[in-house]
């Protein structure tokens, strides 16, 4: 173990410390890295790590030195818990406690490979030894996620050893604040939280704001259903975020920063708290950072899980201790934000990009991506896709590449129907646009948005009305209720959608939804309300026929809307076991034992109990 330094006085001290840390490292060391991100932990990674730790302790007594290490999320949460063995960067997935002795014996100490725990491509049957050989990772380009799965997020030494805080040292020793802002501007970095506003321009406005003090804020209130990139970053590489924030603070002359993170992310809160304490101890936060005369500190504020608090003004109200409700942004928060002072708020992922841009240069960053969307973007790829998880790709990659090459295609090889990007404020993109490039502007043109990077894949069995209804329902629960269009408009939208899904849709419903959408877009107070209709408007735009089928023919082609299809028993498959009849709550199923049963449609309430109960899949939706 390396010794922990305290109070680095100069940039040179930091460099010395890094060399010292690297010098202590044995490149041939036997090391096991266990992912303890939230996904892997949920699948039992803590138990795996604990067993590795115990085995290592026992082995140490016998003189066998194996380093065990916990890391942040690798992104391939679908296959967790993930364990990587060095040397060799051998990638094991789905590791259970029972597998630990074998990995220890064969791989860590024996130098062999445990083949059954390696990734095997379903289609080609090819076995991958290292992450680079796995299609899920092959097409990715990891900049902000570079340290996830590599370093221990709870140890600042690990971050320093891989070059952490070198960007900060560079900024403090050789760059004027204006130069820092120019560098960020030239890189073309745009906000990763949703809006895609030019980060450099935002920084400049904050710098130019007349009033003092100025505040720096990281938005870690990730609330989109199915999105977890910010969580994984805060958990897996908290120092990247902190370093970015310090650089931003230096650029706009701020001495106080805040990380607003939702309390539902306990591990992120824990790792950030640890990271901040360690950075303070090293002299990278606090007074006179690295002897530059620049002071800055960060505190963590926990949000209590209101989706709307991800909106900048609501977030700031919450930071002030008030109810998290948005206010008009006619005067921008960079001029008058937190406590009515200039406030520079960026998303966690945006901050994590900053040190890399400073280190490698604006030109390098601008060389990645498309004309107006530079760099990479982390997406959380979820839904009906084979490989779910976090993926970081250069802007401009096509939807097809992300969903098929990285995501491995649609689960059970069903047909792709649509992909929802940008969370509840985003929209659905149908199959005919699969070859479109993913960047800020193109997604907006398609009626969706980048948002924070959620990507929910739907297959042919997904009902588009039901899907829109889900998001509208989510937003109804999450609307703060302050302004009329959002509060009343979303409720009316949901009312109409519920009607359609129940078979009570009528002519004019689609037009009414469109009218409501336009009204909300025009008149709602904040972005939540303004974009709330997007899931509805985009699905109407691309799947109008499916809405009409629900309304006119009272039919749900995907058979997801209860009431718009019937359950029947396939006589050829039914064995007459009687299980369905026993479970049916309304006694609608009758039949002789060992003979095909039948459902009395007059009595059936479409509850679906028989469908779930039948062990032979004889109950079908028609």
């Amino acid at each position: 173990m390396s010794t922990v330094a305290t109070g680095l006085k100069t940039a040179n001290d930091l460099e010395q410390y890094r060399r010292h840390l690297l010098g202590e490292r044995d490149p041939r060391a036997h090391r096991v890295r266990v992912c303890v991100g939230t996904g892997c932990t949920a699948k039992g990674a803590k138990g795996v790590l604990e067993l590795f730790n115990r085995t290592a302790e026992e082995a140490a007594n016998d003189g066998v030195i194996v380093e065990t290490k916990c890391t942040g999320c690798h992104g391939f949460c679908e296959r967790g818990p993930i364990v990587v063995v060095d040397p060799g960067n051998i990638f094991y997935h789905g590791v259970k406690r029972e597998d630990v002795p074998e990995i220890w014996r064969e791989s860590l100490t024996g130098g062999r490979i445990v083949e059954r725990l390696l990734y095997k491509d379903e289609t080609t049957g090819q076995v991958a030894k290292t992450p680079d050989e796995i299609p899920f990772y092959k097409a990715q380009h990891r900049i902000v996620l570079a340290y996830n799965g590599v370093i221990d997020p709870t140890k600042i030494e690990e971050y320093v050893a891989v070059g952490g805080y070198a960007a900060l040292a560079k900024v403090l020793t050789s760059m004027e604040p204006k130069e820092v802002i120019d560098e960020i501007t030239n890189s073309g970095l745009r906000g990763r939280g949703g809006g895609g506003f030019l980060t450099g321009r935002k920084w400049r406005s904050a710098r130019d704001a007349q009033s003092e003090p100025r505040y720096v804020i990281a938005n870690g209130d990730e609330g989109d259903p199915g999105a977890f990139m910010d969580r994984s970053l805060m958990e897996g590489a908290p120092h990247s975020v902190i370093e970015g924030m310090i650089i931003g603070a230096y650029a706009i002359d701020s001495s106080q920063g805040f990380v607003y993170v939702r309390n539902e992310y306990p591990l992120a809160v824990q790792h950030l708290s640890t990271a901040i304490a360690q950075a303070r101890e090293l002299g990278l936060l606090g007074y006179d950072i690295l002897g530059s005369g620049f002071d800055f500190d960060i505190r963590i504020n926990r949000g209590s899980g209101a989706f709307v608090c991800g909106e900048s003004t609501a977030l700031m109200a919450s930071l002030e201790g008030r109810v998290g409700e948005p206010r008009a942004k006619y005067i921008h928060t960079v001029e008058s934000g937190l406590h009515e002072k200039p406030s520079l708020l960026n998303n966690v992922e945006t901050w994590a990009n900053v040190p890399q841009i400073i280190l490698k240069g604006a030109d390098w960053f601008a060389s990645l991506g498309t004309e107006k969307s530079k760099g990479t973007k982390v997406f959380s790829l979820v839904g009906k896709v084979k490989n779910t998880g976090l993926v970081e790709v250069p802007m401009g990659m096509t939807l097809r590449q992300i969903i098929y090459d990285i995501g491995g295609g649609i689960r059970d090889d069903k047909a792709f129907k649509a992909v929802q990007t940008g969370g509840p404020s985003g929209g659905c993109i149908p199959a005919r646009y699969l070859d479109e490039q993913v960047d800020f502007d193109r997604l907006t043109e398609l009626g969706s948005m980048m948002g924070s990077g959620g990507m929910i894949v739907m297959d042919e069995d997904t009902c588009i009305v039901n899907f829109a209804k889900y998001f509208v329902g989510f937003l109804k629960d999450e609307s703060c209720g302050k302004c009329t269009p959002c509060r009343e408009g979303i409720a009316q939208m949901l009312h109409i959608l519920e009607g359609i899904a129940k078979g009570e849709g009528k002519d004019g419903d689609i037009e009414r939804l469109e009218q409501l959408g336009t009204l909300m877009e025009d008149t709602a107070l904040c972005a939540l309300g303004k974009t709330a209709a997007n899931p509805v408007l985009s699905t109407i735009r691309y799947f109008r026929a499916e809405y009409e089928e629900h309304i006119r023919e009272k039919r749900c082609p995907a058979k997801e809307c209860p009431g718009l299809f019937n359950y029947e028993i396939n006589r050829d498959v039914c064995t007459g076991c009687g299980l369905c009849a026993k479970k049916c709550p309304v006694e609608a199923i009758t039949g002789e034992r060992k003979k095909p049963h039948a459902i009395d449609q007059q009595k059936c309430t479409n509850c679906g109990t028989c469908f779930d109960a039948c062990p032979f899949s004889a109950v079908v939706k028609v």
Binding site: A306, V323, R327, A328, Y330, I331, K476, D477, E478, S479, C480, G481, K482, C483, T484, P485, R487, E488, G489, I490, A491, Q492, H495, R512, Q515, L519, D522, T523, A524, L525
Partner: protein
């Protein structure tokens, strides 16, 4: 001094003024609901939206809080602005179909009815404009009520929906409510603020028994060092009407040549009465009678 062009006519404006202020000063009507000149703009009802020129595109903004910083071109009566305001009104009508005040405003805006069903269940007949909450905190300083719940569940309520200890029963919330939902209900010796079920002791006119106001208001005003309600009402516990009547009687009696025994008696009061003018201004302070009385 920037020029604000509203519907193609130029108007002078000060930096920091809102579009609504400029419009109102120049007699241009923009409907409002959550706006009150005594309170900070809140911009929640969205009924006051107008269009502004953003150089190439027109943005819908709320006029009540959009600050004028430089020359600005505004459309109050464009098709889009009218459609937006009417759309908001339709949503509000669906929420509060019962309110005559809201229907009157809707009529004035050219909205006959609403295509939407009444589905909001959280609070009957309240448009959640927050005026009551804001007047209570910003002006009265009591903060006895607040917004509770989120989204469709949002309501105005006292803490734990119990009779509030912070309410002083001043009735300001009822006075500012634009849809007539908050009422003062006078009981024997209490005034109830409906629908909050808050009750405070009531002071009644010593002469006619009409409600004068809340006893607590008296105490709060006294604690703030200003004139108390009783003092405002001329040093005794009469209601405004009785006070006027009494004053009128005294004045009548005091006019020379109108001499009755009572008038002579009044005149001979030591120091006389120092009657201030402004009897009809409707301001309680205006009938305040000097210390000598």
């Amino acid at each position: 001094m920037p020029t604000v062009t509203i519907d193609e006519k130029p108007y002078r404006a000060d930096v920091g003024e809102t579009i609504l202020e400029v419009a109102q000063r120049n007699g241009i009507w923009i409907p409002t609901l959550c706006h009150h000149q005594a309170l900070e703009p809140y911009a929640a009802c969205r009924i006051c939206v107008v269009e502004i020129d953003r150089g190439g595109w027109w943005q819908v903004v709320t006029s009540c809080n959009y600050p004028i910083r430089r020359a600005l071109t505004v459309r109050v009566n464009s098709e889009r602005a009218i459609r937006a305001r009417r759309g908001v009104m339709e949503l509000l009508l669906a929420r509060c179909p019962e309110s005559p005040q809201l229907r009157r405003l809707a009529n004035r805006m050219g909205v006959e009815g609403t295509p939407y069903p009444h589905i909001a269940a959280a609070q009957e007949n309240c448009i959640l404009c927050n005026l009551c909450v804001r007047v209570c905190s910003e002006r009265i300083g009591a903060s006895a009520i607040s917004m509770v719940g989120r989204g469709g569940d949002r309501t105005v309520a006292t803490p734990f929906r119990m009779s509030s200890e912070d309410c002083i029963g001043c009735g300001a919330c009822a006075a500012v409510c634009p849809v007539g939902t908050i009422d003062l209900i006078f009981h024997e010796d209490e005034v109830e603020i409906s629908p909050f079920e808050t009750r405070v002791t009531l002071r009644r006119c010593a002469e006619c028994g009409r409600p004068v106001g809340s006893e607590l208001v008296n105490e709060v005003l006294a604690s703030r060092g200003g004139p108390t309600l009783v003092e405002m009402l001329a040093g005794d516990a009469y209601c405004l009407r009785c006070k006027r009547k009494k004053l009128a009687e005294r004045l009548t009696a005091a006019v020379p040549g109108n001499g009755s025994g009572r008038a002579a008696q009044e005149r001979s009061l030591p120091g006389g009465t120092n009657v201030q003018t402004g009897l009809h201004a409707g301001n309680p302070r205006s009938i305040r009678v000097g210390e000598a009385g």
